[in-house]
């Protein structure tokens, strides 16, 4: 089996990165921010009662698979998606597709990817990567978060694709079946923006969307009374990690989305989108400021009431600014 003329591009986030890389291979010139924005990737949720490794779950993105699915649907691209019962079948199916020269996207667990540094290898099951060929019994991998391509042994890839836990990837793989002659970006961008505003502003529950930012802000205020200094520090650390680490990222997602708004503004010749982009860039800086102070507080491990209060306020301001921004974006006349 030979390698196809696949070109690897590094991206900030795995799912939007894989989507962009797969589409570019088909000759569709789409950037990662565009894929992220059309797929309405930005989101927020804080679930104090769902403990992940003992700390409350926080996410800055929409659920795994959604970005890819929405983006391809909105651009009218036909995809093939498949899950498998057994690793053997999954590998066979993969081999037969890459033999035809098609790069294949798939879900994997970060923990079982030996080419990643140990620092990042937690049991996180929703990491996307592309396999684009096989050489000397090793799969050729294009992992969008890496600067360069990598290789992986079939046994390791099978483990990563059939990891247990939540969510189970069950060998999930996807590739492009057909691409339409003409792509209507205007409609796709509008739909993406509308959906993002809806998900941020509309959920009537306190745990999802913009409301959850205020919930987390209130929770942080209570950490010094409710938790031991060690626990408080771990909880805060988790928020910072979810905000900045591999495959995720709170501030990072703000910048990614702002980059989308800028590109969309240029493409559709709309100054209002450029303005929203500049505003969101500033809000992203506020999130970074929050993460910076949270990390400092964590390092000191002092339950200094004033600092937790200040931190809570920094976050509340982020929430207020975003509520205002997405509120105005929702009212855009197209």
């Amino acid at each position: 089996m030979s390698t196809v003329s696949y070109k690897h591009f590094q991206h900030a986030h795995c799912e939007s990165g894989v989507t962009a890389n797969l589409l570019r291979h088909e000759g569709i010139n789409i950037s990662e921010p565009m894929a992220f924005g059309i797929g309405a990737g930005i989101f927020f949720a804080h679930l104090p009662f769902v403990k992940v490794s003992g700390t409350p779950g926080t996410t800055f993105r929409t659920w795994p698979g959604a970005i890819f699915k929405r983006t391809t649907q909105r651009l009218g691209i036909e995809m093939h998606t498949e899950r498998f019962r057994s690793p053997e079948r999954a590998n066979q199916a993969l081999d037969s597709v890459i033999a035809t020269g098609k790069p294949v996207g798939m879900l994997s667990s970060v923990y079982y990817l030996p080419y990643l540094p140990e620092a990042f290898r937690f049991h996180f099951n929703a990491h996307n990567l592309v396999v684009y060929g096989k050489e000397n019994g090793q799969y050729l991998v294009s992992d969008p978060i890496l600067e360069d391509v990598a290789t992986i042994a079939p046994e390791d890839l099978a483990k990563a694709r059939f990891a247990k836990g939540t969510p189970e990837p069950r060998g999930f793989m996807y590739y492009v079946k057909s691409v339409p002659q003409h792509i209507d970006y205007t409609k796709a961008i509008q739909a993406g923006i509308k959906q993002t505003c809806f998900f941020m502003l509309s959920p009537p529950l306190p745990w999802f969307g913009n409301k959850a930012i205020f919930l987390l802000s209130k929770q942080i205020k209570k950490y010094p009374q409710k938790l031991t200094p060690r626990k408080a520090s771990l909880y805060l650390g988790n928020v910072v990690r979810m905000q900045e680490e591999i495959g995720t990222g709170g501030a990072g997602f703000r910048f990614l989305y702002a980059a989308f708004l800028q590109e969309a503004g240029t493409m559709l010749k709309r100054d209002d989108l450029q303005g929203f982009s500049a505003e969101l860039t500033k809000i992203g800086d506020d999130w970074r400021n929050f993460a910076y102070h949270a990390a400092r507080l964590m390092k000191d491990r002092k339950s200094d009431l004033v600092s937790f209060d200040e931190l809570s306020d920094l976050l509340r301001v982020c929430g207020e600014k975003e509520r205002d921004l997405f509120g105005r974006m929702q009212k855009i006349k197209w």
């Binding site: 540094p117 910072v240 910048f255 970074r288 990390a295």
Partner: protein, 134 residues
């Protein structure tokens, strides 16, 4: 974030410096562009803390195994960053059964098959599983 503000704080633990992530930042004309980053102090502190917590708990468990309070399964479970629920689904058992296997008295009576299953999940040999802490 401006391009010259993209942090370059080295992530110097557990091979973390092998990766340079891409970040989006605005240049002098306010235009977005991708820049690679070596890491960021705030993120490094948080990641390091999570690993330190893992290492601390692992050392505590290793002690308990050596004292004969827990079986080596508890140690290797933590070493593989697993929780009881995850390990149980890997070996195809209920959580209460896995917890029982944490008892040294139960562990000593486990069948060769069961031990082989655990060893395979932990990516070690049965001998390593049996001899840890002895």
């Amino acid at each position: 974030m401006k391009t010259n503000e993209v942090p370059q704080d080295k992530r110097d633990f557990k091979e973390g410096d092998k990766i340079h992530k891409l970040m989006y930042a605005v240049d002098n004309d306010g235009k977005y562009t991708g820049i690679t980053s070596a890491g960021w102090e705030a993120e490094n502190i948080a990641t390091k803390q999570a690993w330190d917590a893992v290492d601390e708990e692992l050392a505590e468990t290793a002690d308990k195994v050596k004292k004969g309070e827990l079986s080596s399964i508890a140690y290797y479970m933590q070493k593989n960053l697993m929780e009881v629920s995850l390990l149980a689904s890997y070996v195809g058992k209920w959580q209460w059964q896995v917890k029982r296997h944490f008892k040294p008295s139960v562990f000593n009576k486990l069948s060769a098959d069961m031990l082989a299953k655990y060893a395979a999940v932990f990516n070690i040999s049965v001998d390593e599983l049996k001899s840890f802490g002895k």
